[in-house]
């Protein structure tokens, strides 16, 4: 890593910011869509009673919606490599005299910035809706988990992108992999001994479960399964592995 690589990282980050801000419809969708979930599902399920759930359903749902927004936004960043591949712009990036690692870092930071912006926005709205918080320190932990979640999702997106050549496959990845992971992540309902055994096992096997659980523990301080710091440890390992794989696959793909 030298100065040139840092400049490249900055430039790749800047490009994503410009593109994001110029795509008005994307800005609008990414902000509004999670709010639909938060408001409609939140108030819709608010009358339901779940065993062992503390506080209202919105308190339970909010951390999951933050996770979902970050996940979708970051995955999109990873997969948008495909866009660059199809438009030919990726070649321009790949022939530049900078290391592949800095290209991955630049893209990841760009994606994470956008995702974090969305996550924080939902967080603020959630707090305004009366979702309780624990302490400034735990909010900071929430932010750290949000960043790691974003990195992991970008890495996952890069792996998906390196295995596909067009967007046909992207739809199936979304519905066959991402949706079940979301449903099993304890985002919509609490995972506890009241659930059928197989559903509990599947949930604990789901990497996303620890991310949602960690966010819930650190943000609202209620309804979590594992202590937030243990979740953080698991998330950190996951993040390193997935980012490593993502970088590896990105390096290997020839344009």
């Amino acid at each position: 890593m030298n100065q040139k690589d840092f400049q490249a990282i900055y430039m790749l980050w800047l490009r994503q910011m410009k593109r994001f801000l110029r795509a008005k419809s994307r800005v609008l969708t990414t902000i509004v869509q999670p709010l639909f979930f938060l408001f409609i599902l939140g108030f819709g399920f608010n009358i339901a009673v779940f065993p062992e759930m503390e506080g209202s359903y919105i308190n339970f749902l909010a951390p999951g919606i933050i996770a979902m927004a970050i996940l979708f936004s970051s995955m999109f960043t990873g997969v948008s490599v495909l866009w660059d591949k199809q438009s030919g712009f990726l070649q321009e990036v790949l022939v530049a005299p900078v290391s592949r690692l800095s290209i991955v870092i630049g893209r990841t930071l760009g994606g994470a910035t956008i995702a974090l912006f969305q996550g924080i926005l939902i967080m603020i709205i959630a707090i305004a809706l009366g979702v309780p918080t624990v302490s400034p320190a735990s909010l900071l932990l929430t932010l750290v988990i949000m960043v790691l979640l974003s990195f992991t999702a970008v890495g996952f997106g890069l792996i998906v992108a390196s295995k596909m050549h067009d967007f046909e496959g992207f739809e199936s990845v979304m519905s066959l992999i991402l949706m079940p992971l979301l449903f099993l992540s304890s985002m919509f309902y609490p995972v506890n001994t009241f659930l059928p055994g197989w559903l509990q096992i599947l949930s604990y096997c789901n990497p996303l479960f620890y991310m949602v659980d960690g966010l819930r523990g650190s943000f609202t301080g209620v309804n979590y399964v594992l202590p937030p710091l243990i979740d953080l440890g698991i998330i950190l390992v996951l993040c390193i592995v997935i980012m490593g794989l993502g970088t590896y696959f990105f390096n290997k793909s020839e344009s």
Binding site: Q7, M11, S87, G88, F89, Q91, V95, P97, E254
Partner: protein
């Protein structure tokens, strides 16, 4: 001094050999053209030289740097204009150049100066703050050429620089290429399947077909190797006339292709009556004759046995008989 050298450069995909053990070199300051039909292996060669593809075999070096071992150094010394547009259409022209400049680590002052210079060179200075998605095809191409020049590379690779552009824009781009070769002393490596483009631009030409280099030389030498003049004729019996004419000593070469015969000879127009006489003695009727200076198409035909134009376009239906005519056209060089 040689700025590009390759040795047995090869690329195979699942048993198909796209580039087959090619060895060549390009001198500094030259405009070198790789001429060949679509699918001949031109783009694959460029991708290997520009470190976008790993060769299956062989090696190459650019400006003294090995394309396998010193990839970053190679990338610093080259500029590339890809066959397919590679611009970010959501950014403006200036932003695309700025992106490039930063990726190549140019200092802020150089960045500003160069952006102005290259945009002036390609006449896009007025459009610099317009989003690239609003550019026309020719403007995009010019912006890409400008971008390729941003970091003052030693070698500029142009992969089919005028593909799909109208005649006027092609002309203009040719002028830019000539000018920057002169002004910036940039060595230019271009691929094309347009004969006129190679003819107009290149000092040195390599003809590539099926992944192999058939011949490499200056445009003049290549044309002379075909003969002083080229006579193309259609007749009722190509095979018989071909056999008969082969015995004539004044014919330097004769190639049959697509129901036509192409003959290389000195003082072509004087040989036409001779050919007619010979044809009459063996009862062959000649339906059309064409005499001209050799073009690179003839060179291509001579070395590959196929015409490039015939491959590029669809062959017209053979059922249509052309009216008998006598056409004599001399191209002044």
């Amino acid at each position: 001094m040689e700025i590009i050298t390759t040795e047995n450069l090869t690329k195979t995909y699942d048993g198909f050999t796209a580039v087959d053990h090619i060895t060549f070199s390009v001198k500094e300051g030259e405009i070198f053209g790789f001429l060949g039909p679509n699918g001949a292996g031109k783009t694959t060669t460029i991708k290997m030289l520009t470190t976008l593809l790993y060769p299956s075999e062989g090696s190459a070096s650019i400006a003294g740097f090995d394309i396998l071992k010193q990839r970053a150094n190679v990338r610093e010394n080259i500029g590339i204009v890809f066959q397919e547009p590679a611009l970010d259409t959501e950014l403006t022209g200036r932003e695309n150049l700025d992106f490039h400049a930063r990726m190549y680590g140019l200092s802020p002052e150089t960045r500003k100066k160069r952006i102005g210079e290259v945009l002036t060179l390609v006449d896009l200075i007025d459009k610099k703050d317009v989003l690239v998605k609003q550019y026309s095809g020719g403007m995009k191409r010019r912006l890409e050429i400008a971008r390729g020049l941003m970091h003052s590379p030693k070698v500029l690779f142009l992969d089919e620089p005028t593909l799909g552009l109208d005649a006027q824009t092609r002309r203009a781009i040719w002028e830019y290429i000539k000018q920057l070769n002169k002004d910036e002393k940039t060595t230019i490596f271009l691929t094309t399947h347009y004969m006129d483009e190679a003819d107009f631009l290149c000092d040195y030409i390599g003809i590539i077909d099926h992944g192999k280099i058939m011949v490499m030389n200056t445009v003049d030498v290549l044309k002379k190797s075909v003969g002083h003049d080229v006579i193309t004729l259609s007749c009722s019996d190509t095979t018989t006339l071909h056999k008969r004419l082969e015995q004539e000593s004044w014919i330097s070469n004769i190639t049959p292709h697509d129901s036509k015969l192409t003959i290389g000879a000195e003082r072509g127009e004087e040989k036409i009556p001779l050919i007619f006489d010979i044809a009459r003695t063996i009862n062959v009727t000649i339906s059309s004759v064409d005499v001209r200076r050799p073009t690179l198409d003839d060179v291509f035909l001579y070395y590959t046995g196929r015409s490039m134009r015939e491959q590029a376009q669809e062959t017209p239906s053979t059922g249509m008989k052309k009216p008998a005519r006598f056409r004599l056209r001399r191209q002044k060089k």
